[in-house]
Symmetry: C2
Subunit: 230 residues, 2 copies
């Protein structure tokens, strides 16, 4: 699909072509060998809830998703990926489009990958010795999108902290907000993975907690889209 130029943005008939929200969703997988991988239990449910909220508020939605069981709304365009690098590549390709007004980083990309991927299935050591694995960081998807963000675009990030309600958790979240240049950061707890009702803190671009919300992913999703489409 040909990319359109920024200038096209102003030529669009917005009645014919709705603005698009880009949503990353689900986990990524980082292979150790042809069989094994690192991943996490992200279900893609928050991504699905955000997509539904965005569509019902009149946006087009593109989802870049890792492997999930969840059903995305049929009206959404879904790009399936496996690794964090693939998710980044796909997200960059979509974020650069003139009709893309913002990105919501609801995915839980693996932030570590094996320093080298074994071409053969890794064998157990014959004498049962431990296996030492060297992990390196994967690219930071939102921080990377932040470097190419246009003035007319916004970024919503998610932070998952083990201890979100302590000073440390909040401080970490603030560091993430700055690095990813988030207009809104959604801070939640590991218990958010795979469940439906959860507690989040919404932090604005100035670092202020503007709302604490204990609710279903659907209600939280609606609130996020509402905040960004004002």
């Amino acid at each position: 699909m040909a990319k359109r130029l920024l200038s096209d943005h102003f030529l669009e008939d917005t009645e014919k072509m709705p603005y698009t929200i880009l949503i990353t969703s689900g986990p990524t997988r980082e292979p150790l060998d042809p069989v094994r991988f690192l991943s996490n239990g992200s279900s893609g449910r928050m991504g699905a809830a955000l997509s539904e909220a965005a569509i019902s508020q009149g946006f087009a939605v593109t989802i870049v998703s890792g492997p999930v069981r969840v059903a995305y709304p049929p009206a959404a365009k879904v790009i399936e990926v496996e690794t964090t690098q693939e998710m980044l590549d796909a997200a960059r390709g979509e974020f650069v489009r003139a009709d893309c007004v913002g990105v919501i980083g609801a995915a839980a990309p693996c932030d570590f990958r094996a320093a080298s991927v074994s071409k053969q299935k890794i064998k157990k050591n014959a004498d049962g010795r431990p296996l030492i694995l060297e992990l390196v960081e994967t690219p930071d998807i939102l921080a990377s999108l932040a470097t190419m963000k246009r003035p007319d675009q916004w970024i919503v990030g998610f932070a998952l902290e083990s201890e979100p309600h302590t000073g440390v958790g909040l401080e970490n979240a603030q560091m993430k907000r700055q690095k990813k240049r988030c207009d809104l950061l959604v801070l939640n707890h590991p218990n958010a993975i795979g469940v439906d009702v959860t507690t989040v803190s919404l932090i604005n671009a100035c670092g202020e907690i503007i709302q604490e919300l204990t609710s279903t992913k659907r209600t939280i999703a609606e609130r996020i889209v509402q905040l960004m489409s004002r």
Copy 2:
């Protein structure tokens, strides 16, 4: 559920109580911290195909399954687990039952786990240094069941070798067959994960390749159950 004694076996009215085949299926997950885990792409489709074949040949089926998307036959009893240790515990509990005639180890359990699981989400190193992870072996489910196997029970193992058609792949498979005391070993290729048509070698208790089969998982499953119910 109360376990029944071996002697009960001979008291059963087999018309009322069919023999049960125990099937392990899907991947397991080994946590690194509250969010991340090691796993593999096993879909559970071979386990589902084996369950269908066993049920259609008149057996009851108990499936011990890791997290999968596949739909198991409604007539099967399904026990859901996450880690390899949980899969082993559940499988032992079922294998000891008097009506259990055999186990088919179609699961792809993680054979490594983190030496220590972090209670907190593991942070990136501030200076981008690699993360060193120490992995240790998980218990071998079939080898463990083999130590408690009754004379009236059989074990079918699966071996996944990167190079199944070379001498090395076959030799590794033979070692697995002996360690797990398999009456039948199904040797297949990493491309078996997540796809439907695959090539397997069937190896009997004496280490002889009795059949090579390129077919759907359904046909392979029917052949395996047929071989074991003769």
